[in-house]
Symmetry: C2
Subunit: 599 residues, 2 copies
């Protein structure tokens, strides 16, 4: 049923608006169902926060409404209200004292089941887009006129030396670049530092066969979407070239070949002292805000195995693996059975290496086609675009489902995938491969959100496992390395010229330990994960990803990362949180959690 | 009045479709009014051609329909029929034996007043966009797999050496780049050669203060539109950077630092032999098609004036002028009073030079704001975009007006501008400036189409002329140069350290004379102009721009150029004409004209 003037939902939204404007926390909470969720992205909490149930909602509203001072919250007249299975859904536009945003509401039995509120712009600091875009040519005449190029060169020359950046972003992959682009639009002086020679090298320098595992519709950066001839799964070098051009076109202050050596925070001044090595020159920077955008796949996790010092062959973490060209005819053992392990094994096999994959614990496998058709297609596909679901809109629809109930939305999709690909899964198990669909059968994306690992999106390597081209050792631990082999705990010896540790990455607060201090890393605690109490995502429940894109226990320290979708979407809220601080806007944070895990 | 089911127009379109499918030239012609126009862009004529009146239409239809074999021509169901002042307008979709396209129709008194037909794709050679986009990752496994990067590098290494390009484009500005991007999408092996070091240098190396005179909505390239934070009038260096990134991202085979030395056509083989100097290396290329995209502003037109050999100061064509920095406190005489002359004078004045502009004949001046609001705004503006008029749609609307009657559409707009800016024009005339609005008062764009010169879009320099900051000498010829001065024909001496010849550019067939031979240049004749018999656009009437984006009298030789709008829009038809030839599709050309003017 389509209904643009849904009277019940309209009345509920009107009640909510009235209660918000009146700053009446009790009245607000009374509109929510017993099981209900208010997810807020920086509009009401100056945090990424989900309140669950009326009590949490009441507490948050009581604390925040006086400062936030809502001005309006109405159904978006440009959107349609829909109703299905007793749930009415609508899009919202909202205004607070500080900003404007959009939202989404689901109504069940006359009360609010889910509410999403998001901040999209700060009043007086709107982005210079469309009607606000710059003129470029400065009409008139001015003897002191500087050209665009002269101004750009002057800024690049001064920033970091005569002028200090307000924000320093460490890490110039898609995360740092997307955030930097938003901060540039918001007029926040920013430097991005990255250790590589060129923007995009983060992708170029990974293993040769790497292509994006997510499809193009999911991967756009802010401001400049990929053109409609862009490959579905872009090869890594093409992604690298795009990031490099994006950095230039979006006019980012991007310091290549630059390594951050140390960072210290002066609480009294509210300022960092960061020492960087810029192409051999030591530069001391004093940003107010420090963003670690080194990536959730930034810090290699290499297991400690007896005999690593004895082994005579080569050992590499997957992030160091150059690709297969040098290993034709060699014996390679790949430890791990997730995305990188599969990609690396397949590429090595294609080059004629003798490859064994060691699977220590079960893995979630989903065929790329099935993932696209069953899970992503409604939101991120050519068909979705044809249906008017832009990636921005898809991001909002996706964000509108609170994490607490998201798994329940996903389980039926993966049930369907299991049915559809039953023969495939049976063949994998027959080959000895250990399969899972997540602790609660909720599949890939929940695994990603909870632990960022434990899966492979199959683009062909599984057939090689099934037919034995890639040899498999599964369900075994590793005893030690000998001079010439990997020895498993059942005594199996795997002769090896090369061992690849496709063993994933540590928590991003490890970067803070190295750069700032172990004490600050511990003060902040683990990054990523929801606290779902499933494998590798210990509780307590947090309801949002820990420490990502939001204030941490360390003032002035932020973490940014994730896949291209997250880099695009959440960079918006991180950029607005940073801009609000630069602009001196009151940003009272609700729901800042002390750490529960150190890494 | 809006009416999606306009029965009269629908009936007329149905009659037209029936007559076309029946290949009945008489029946087709009978549907057209006495004063009527069928503008075709490569769909029916394999040419850019406008038939005027029933007789021409009948002749074209009789000649072309048997080969074109129309399959369908219907009102586009996604579009709305509109009617105003007795003219009903509708959008068409069409199909021929070879391709698919879109069109536009205007009906007056029950018959066709204007018809536009355009080719948008060739059957079996559709562009790999949207649902046809490449996968990127090649799923499955293949021991001989090459990565995207390896394939790209191999192509770049072989093309021009082991493999020959089908098309060679000489000139890598926006024209060559836009065409190259389309040819890449169509799978036509193409090399673009350009003398500059980097793509975009065509803009970077022009005078320092240059910004686009056309607004951003008018300037998009194909495939990757400018982001919505792009400046209204982009500074030249920013345009240069965009072109450079576009060249990379669109994967063009772009040979920088390459000069074409000579070209000869072998009629028997249907192939060119082109010798180029690639960064010091002589390379011989054998393309089937040669496109001169050196720009309508490519070949400098420097007047011959007695005393040029005697003058002790510096002399430059405007295309060589580096900007004002070296001329602070110097005396500069700028010959000319069009766009470049004004921009250069203003920038010199801003740097403290003593500047005199010599206006030899009258100039059309229009304030940038007025041009945008009165003329362009309906099609190319933020408001137009908000109204659903994308630049692609605007291009089609613009193309739907036959050149013969276009001036009549423009005269009222410029009448309005004259009223609105009356004070401004009076002040200019009081300062001695000679004004015109074109021979028939049809203003800027008709001047551009007819002669490509004769105007200035005012972004501030006029105020400097009005208040005398830029000194003006108008209505005088130049007698000669002395050792130290420009001497006018009334004896006025203008002491000068620098003389800038802002005297425009010659016809593009001059490039063919240099590169191929004077005979071929003469065989082809003048490029640009409509044959309107107005100043600098001698007749006879041609109805399209001479020799641009369409077959010429020299087989295998094409000219491409124009502003960003034209480079974007007409590169589509030029690319499809080239692709059709590469694919061996029958391309019987209608309306190829022998030259009437040699330059």
């Amino acid at each position: 049923m389509l209904d643009t003037t849904h009277p019940h939902l309209a009345a509920l939204v009107a009640d909510l608006e009235r209660a918000l404007i009146a700053q009446d926390a009790d009245a607000v909470a009374a509109l929510f169902a017993t099981d209900s969720y208010w997810r807020d992205l920086a509009a009401f909490t100056w945090n990424l926060n989900t309140c669950e149930g009326a009590a949490q909602i009441r507490a948050m509203a009581a604390a925040q409404l006086p400062q936030i001072a809502p001005k309006a919250l109405t159904l978006d007249p440009a959107e349609t209200v829909t109703e299905a299975d007793g749930v009415a859904e609508g899009w919202l536009v909202l205004e607070t004292a500080a900003g404007r945003g959009v939202g989404h509401i689901r109504m069940k039995d006359g009360r609010i089941w889910t509410l999403l509120t998001t901040l999209h712009e700060l009043k007086g600091h709107e982005e210079p887009r469309k009607l606000r875009r710059p003129m470029g040519a400065e009409h008139g005449h001015d003897p002191n006129r500087k050209t665009w190029k002269e101004k750009q060169e002057e800024e690049a020359r001064r920033l970091g030396y005569e002028d200090q950046p307000y924000v320093l972003v460490i890490g110039g992959g898609q995360g740092g670049i997307a955030l930097g682009a938003r901060l540039r639009q918001l007029g926040v002086p920013t430097i991005i530092v990255d250790k590589h020679e060129r923007p995009g090298d983060q992708w170029r320098k990974r293993y040769k066969s790497l292509c994006l595992h997510d499809p193009v519709w999911y991967d756009h950066l802010p401001y400049i979407p990929f053109p409609d001839n862009w490959p579905v799964f872009a090869p890594k070098d093409k992604v690298g070239d795009w990031l490099e051009m994006y950095t230039k076109v979006m006019e980012l202050n991007y310091w290549s070949s630059t390594t951050a050596k140390s960072a210290q925070y002066d609480e009294a001044k509210g300022e960092w002292t960061v020492i960087v090595d810029r192409n051999g020159e030591e530069v001391t920077l004093h940003p107010k805000q420090l963003v670690l955008a080194t990536g959730m796949s930034g810090k290699a996790n290499v297991p400690v195995i007896p005999g690593q010092d004895v082994f005579q062959g080569e050992q590499q973490h997957s992030s160091q693996h150059p690709g297969p060209d040098a290993y034709k005819g060699k014996k390679v053992v790949v430890i791990g059975a997730n995305n990188s392990a599969h990609d690396i094994c397949a590429a090595l096999w294609e080059q004629g290496a003798d490859v064994t994959m060691v699977q220590r614990s079960s893995t979630h496998i989903v065929k790329s086609d099935s993932l696209m058709e069953v899970c992503l297609g409604g939101l991120y596909s050519e068909q979705a675009v044809a249906n008017g679901i832009t990636h921005d809109k898809a991001d909002m629809i996706f964000a509108s489902v609170p994490y607490k109930i998201m798994a329940g939305f996903h389980v039926p999709q993966y049930d369907e995938i299991r049915r559809r690909d039953a023969g495939f899964y049976a063949a994998l198990e027959k080959a000895g491969f250990l399969l899972d669909f997540g602790d609660d059968d909720s599949g890939l994306f929940m695994k990603y959100l909870r632990r960022g690992s434990g899966y492979y999106i199959d683009v062909g390597a599984c057939d090689l496992v099934i037919d034995g081209s890639i040899k498999l050792q599964s369900g075994k631990g590793i005893s030690h390395l000998s001079e010439t082999a990997v020895v498993l705990d059942d005594g199996t010896e795997l002769p090896a010229d090369l061992v690849v540790y496709a063993t994933g990455y540590g928590s991003m607060n490890g970067w803070a330990a190295d750069l700032i201090s172990p004490e600050v890393a511990d003060k902040v605690g683990k990054c990523w994960g929801l606290g779902s109490d499933t494998t590798k995502d210990p509780g307590p429940w947090e309801g949002e990803q820990r420490n990502m894109w939001k204030p941490t226990m360390q003032p002035g320290l932020w973490f940014h990362g994730g896949n291209l979708h997250q880099s695009r979407h959440y960079s918006r809220y991180l950029a607005l949180q940073l801009k609000a601080r630069q602009a001196g806007i009151e940003t009272q944070v609700w729901g800042l959690h002390p750490p529960h895990h150190l890494s």
